[in-house]
């Protein structure tokens, strides 16, 4: 008799009750089988994980390999991380090591064809410096998530949306008068600046 798996919590129901959880809370929920908690973790740190190989100069295919490896390592190490409040730091180190291992394994196989690094690793940007940059970038992301709903939506669409929606599209989606986007942008950026300063980010 085969057992059909179903998620304990549908992953499509990604709501604020998960985005507001701390990392240790989400990890504990994962360890109790909460699929939506895992989705929240992946979404929270997707850019952090992906940015490390990209900053190392990896192309998109190799960056995807690193992303997949780090997700696997995260699942495998959830038990060790349930009390870790600095999951971002662990992810940066793990992602960096995965990048270095991938580079080392490629160099050890000189007959491998099709080495696909867009750029060589920048020798002036060492791993520690990269770690600081990537962690700071995550702090900025977390600061944006602290903004009130409409401000967060506006900042997301103005600066974080890879599709670069026009002001007209933003106005229609958020329900904000076109003429007020400029003033709201300023107000929301000031709030963001204050949140970032309160977090101690320079």
């Amino acid at each position: 008799m085969e057992i059909q798996e179903t998620p304990l919590v549908p992953s499509s129901r990604h709501n604020n009750s998960y985005t507001d959880r701390t990392d240790p809370e989400l990890v504990s929920m994962c360890l109790n089988g909460d699929v939506a908690a895992w989705e929240a973790l992946v979404r929270r740190y997707r850019r952090l994980i992906y940015s490390v190989p990209r900053r190392f100069g990896f192309n998109k295919q190799d960056s995807a390999d690193v992303f997949q490896s780090v997700c696997l390592k995260l699942i495998e190490n959830l038990h060790h991380l349930k009390d870790d409040t600095r999951l971002g730091g662990w992810l940066v180190i793990t992602s960096s090591r995965t990048c270095l291992n991938l580079m080392a394994s490629r160099q050890r196989e000189p007959d491998t064809v099709g080495l696909e690094f867009d750029d060589r690793l920048d020798p002036e940007r060492n791993v520690e410096e990269l770690r600081l940059y990537v962690e700071e970038q995550q702090e900025i992301r977390d600061s944006v998530n602290e903004l009130p709903g409409r401000c967060r939506a506006l900042i997301d669409m103005l600066y974080l949306d890879a599709n670069s929606p026009s002001y007209q599209e933003i106005s229609e989606i958020i329900g904000m008068p076109l003429g007020s986007i400029g003033s709201n942008r300023a107000r929301c950026l000031e709030k963001l600046r204050k949140i970032i300063r309160d977090r101690g980010i320079k």
Partner: protein, 204 residues
């Protein structure tokens, strides 16, 4: 002298002000330390926000990561209170550095050690190149020198239990020549169910 407002500053940084407004602002900023600092601060902030957009992974890659997590639900009627543990990978021969001068020929067996509490699950995976299959051989061990005999072990992929077996007197089990795929392995102990996520990845 009137300082610049954030709104004027943002219009300037986004290239949305007239030449006159631009000239006025630049002239003021050149002589005002406070506004010069403000301009730099917002310039850096906008740059960092835009950089972040460039680090967005493809949606299908994110979904792949999300789909990794597929815990097994207890069958209906099963006893309540079954605890689930996710084992941590503590050793993997594929993670070990190769000796200098060594070249990998063929696909050597992969040895993995997972741990959940005081239970270890040792797994060896051999790849059969000829028919694209793998053999998993393992043993469930306890730090308390206890053997887990006749213990159910399951191999699952894509949400479905594919293969079942039971451990022998010394806690050993095997899944012989199963198709290559991404598998999770589960061991049902009296204390709870231990899951080894992605004990094998389909493309490795």
């Amino acid at each position: 002298m009137r300082h610049v407002t954030v709104e004027n500053l943002m219009d300037y940084l986004e290239g949305q002000c007239s030449d006159v407004e631009k000239s006025t602002l630049e002239s003021h900023v050149a002589s005002c330390t406070e506004c010069s600092g403000l301009k730099q601060e917002f310039q850096v902030l906008i740059t960092r926000l835009r950089e972040d957009a460039s680090f967005e992974p493809p949606a299908e890659l994110v979904q792949w990561g999300i789909d990794l997590f597929q815990p097994v639900v207890r069958p209906q009627g099963a006893a309540s209170g079954l605890r689930k543990y996710i084992a941590s990978l503590v050793f993997d021969t594929y993670e070990q550095p190769m000796l200098a001068g060594m070249r990998r020929v063929g696909a050597p067996p992969r040895q993995l050690l997972f741990r959940a509490g005081d239970v270890d699950v040792d797994v060896k995976i051999e790849s059969m190149e000829a028919n694209d299959r793998i053999t998993l051989i393992g043993q469930v061990l306890s730090s308390a020198a206890k053997f887990f005999d006749n213990t159910p072990v399951k191999l699952e992929s894509h949400g479905i239990v594919r293969y079942r077996t039971r451990t022998n007197l010394v806690g050993e089990f095997s899944f012989d020549e199963v198709p290559k795929d991404t598998y999770h392995l589960s061991v049902d102990l009296p204390e709870g169910q231990i899951t080894l996520f992605c004990v094998h990845r389909g493309n490795s």
